[in-house]
């Protein structure tokens, strides 16, 4: 596939992931723009024949990590967007509450666990791809995924039954 066509087709997914990371539409699109510009200027570094999307996530991660470093001194302000405030009833309301809880819970995950959970659950990357994106061994990805998912269980109750209190 042509690089530019492939790049274009990855944008919706990049926007979704950036939004989930940053929780702010404008800042998320700024990050996507930086990512696309960098990808364009470094396209000769991309090895054709491999999947483009993980390569783009890797670029985005590096840019994001720089941002986080730069902002560490400032308190993090995280608006939770994407959830309308209009009243809902019945099933819609139950779902709304569940989504809202999940959004909150994700916000409380340690950064590294949150990224792994999002890349797997939201973007459907393989564990190997996540490892390449984050530049860590697959084993590390799996342990972050386990910790992240179990932590989400404790933070946001699922429909699947009462939360189990684990004895440490």
């Amino acid at each position: 596939v042509d690089f530019l066509t492939d790049l274009e087709s990855c944008i919706p997914s990049l926007r979704r992931y950036a939004r989930a990371l940053l929780r702010d539409g404008d800042r998320a699109d700024d990050l996507v723009q930086d990512c696309l510009e960098r990808a364009l200027s470094r396209r000769h570094l991309w090895r054709g024949g491999t999947s483009l999307r993980p390569w783009l996530f890797r670029i985005m991660h590096n840019l994001y990590a720089n941002q986080v470093r730069a902002q560490r001194s400032r308190p993090m302000h995280q608006p939770i967007d994407g959830l309308g405030a209009e009243p809902r009833v019945g099933e819609a309301q139950t779902m709304h509450v569940a989504l809202s809880e999940m959004a909150q819970a994700l916000g409380q995950l340690p950064e590294e666990q949150r990224r792994v959970v999002l890349l797997v659950a939201l973007e459907g990357l393989s564990y190997q791809e996540v490892a390449a994106v984050m530049d860590v061994p697959v084993g590390t990805v799996m342990s972050r995924l386990s910790r992240g998912r179990d932590r989400l269980r404790r933070l946001a109750g699922g429909e699947a039954g009462p939360l189990l209190r684990r004895i440490k």
Binding site: E8, P12, R15, D150, E159
Partner: protein
Amino acid sequence: VSLAAGPIDEAELHAYVDGRLAADRRAAVAEWLETHPEERRRIADWQRQNELIGRLWAEIAEEPVPERLRVERLRRHGLRRRLAAVAAALLLLAAGASAGWLARGASPRAADPVTAIAGAGLEAHRMFVAERRHAVEVPREEEQHLVAWLSNRLERPLRAPDLGAFGLQLLGGRLLPMPGGEPAAQLMYEDPDGARFTLFIARGEGRDPAFRILEAEGVSAFYWLDRDTAYALIGTAPRERLMAICQAVYAQLESGPG
């Protein structure tokens, strides 16, 4: 939770939830879960998490991409920015050169590989621009063949820039050996006054994106490295004109396909 004792490991539970298991392992995990209610609840919660996370930002991926993120637009912007940087670099170079900062002569001493290529280009320029009947090996009438042939020998996609805006017409080109035996390509252009310019192209290495000038006996070579390809634009003309041609060459190579 450690499942090391059982036949199913933790990684397989994740793969089960994420739909990344082969059918036989999938069946094995499902069967194992039958007798492990606590893990079954855990897996069900993970599945529920996947569903909710997928829903939370689903609409972002559905909505149309904002104009400012269109690849074509970013690409044009990027090109314009790089061209501005190129223009600035060339101006700086011309200013520095007039102040005497310049590599003079095609001396091979301690030259880096890209400068050596520019030096070879200068020599080839002097050799062939003087030719009336045999200036080129393949004439412009066979431009397509010429470009395909040279691309093939240099093992990279080349193109003959259109320099009509400067009154330059392609005469044709030839294949040349570099001193070490590497192939190099020479494209020759001519203006209405009969002044000739050559674009010399060879495989290059290094990371230096700077434009540089090499001059010998009134002939100037503006040369640069673009990724793995070295280019030298060579001619006898005021520096401003060479600079302008250089920018056009650079712009056309950048905006090209591939």
